[in-house]
Amino acid sequence: MPGQRVLISGMGGELGSRLAALLEDEPWVGELAGIDADPPRRRLRAATFHRIPPAETERIVQTITDFDPHVLVHVASWEPDARAGTGTAKVLTDHAATSVLGAAAECKALQAVVVRSGIEVYGRARGSLTRPDEDTPLDPTSEYGRMLEGIELTARSVSQRVGVPVTLVRLAPVLGPHVPSPLGRVLRQPVVPFSVLADPPFTVVQDHDAAVAFCAASRQRHDGPVNVVAPGSISTFQAIRRGGRIPLPLVGPEWRLVRAMSWVLGAPIPDHVAELFHRGRLADDSRAMDVLGVAPTVTAVEVIDGLHAWESVVRVPARRQVA
């Protein structure tokens, strides 16, 4: 299998950049290329990057078909209120999924597709399972969940038509020092709202663990979904207290006002984050080790502790003092 061509869509994001850095060290990877609207956030040694906005379908198709990848890793999804508002995120995600996965279907060398999804696809409707596993029927109850379900449907359709395995990596909310995350942003506010009657548990995943899972998925080429979540969980109140933030207990109707105020203050709470605060978000992670050979090691509590420990501004000293 050595000398394989791997293409990453969404290489410019934190997750895509980390994944590219990991894939560069994989012995089976021959050529590595990436597409995104923004340049990568890490220094990469061997990867080729193409800066193309998601709306430019023709250029994306041309670039991918010219590269003719053996493995496509699609991580280009925009979480609502992470880097773009819900409406824009929906359009960008849809454009990227259609053009990238559609172009991949035209590549003769294609052997496997790995797609980023999320545990938001299971939804948190009344009576839904506490820890849904990969066999649980999809029932998204948030806009982000429906966006991810759309990506999965497109990927499955490509898989059926072309006959290649598609690994659907369903991530818990990804947190990391440079990951734009509405959940992380809200939890780092000085005053954080929480549902006093429910205070549900949720889990997350560290960005590095998520990148390792993607790297393993592109190597293992499993056909089907796999949940990638950090071990353990934490309740919203405990997450707030661990960061020394002031918990703001809410019961119900005042959530609308608090969400509006949070939006004005620069930390919008999209519906999938609000759902997490009300209903929690857990998933069964027992299949990851069997399917991928790796599983997240950093626990949910450690990820939250890390979230509160990250510096707001990282000061890098000058290489040489000149004045």
Binding site: L44, Q62, P200, I234, Q238, G306
Partner: protein, 249 residues
Amino acid sequence: MTALILPFARRSEPGEPKHPADVEEDPTVERTRPDPPASGVHVDGWGRDSIFVERITTLANMRWHVTLGGVDRLPSRAGALIVVNVRTYSLAPVFTALALCEATGRPVRFVGRPDTAPAGALLRRLGGLLDHPEEVRNALRAKELVVIGTGRELHPQRVGRIDHRLIGAAVQERVRVHPAAATSSPFSRHARVEIGTEINAGRSRRGPLAELELADAARKRIRSLLEEMGGWHSGPLFDWLSMSGMGGD
């Protein structure tokens, strides 16, 4: 077409100390973390809060003094489904789970929490699971001890129906099913839980008959355990009064 060839060259000169921007972030490096507050306990992957369970167990011990028998019949590490009889308003699955947790040192789940706040949220922190076969199956796959209740009965010696779909979860995951007989009284602290040996339906079935037969076998075994434990059949006059709290009930 815009094409950038990486890397973005930024390297320290040989011999000079590494520039901070040249050092790859090592995820294994220990970061300074804030000291956890006293109440900053965490919950497990199912939402069960071990500190909360300890506190509730202390309170529960004031209400129930549970005598537990047959704990050594349960697996020490593997998962198992424990079926316990339920009298109306007795909360038998809850006190059984708490008592088993104390005795085994393992987290024990019980089935039957609602999915509405605040009762559902509180019971989830105690280890409650939804009354859903897939929920039970996931827990058994994760090698958990799960307590399910039979249908509610007012009479202490009767055993209600057992949801065979929940038993089916154990059949599919190939874990042991143990009967448990619980007796308690609303007027007394004394409660008793006796765990029986693993239930074997007798025949090996390939289809859903296995769970039906296992559920029937579990019901019979619980009834026989209740008879072995005594109660109104063997006691003096006051034992006839099932709610008196003076008998084995």
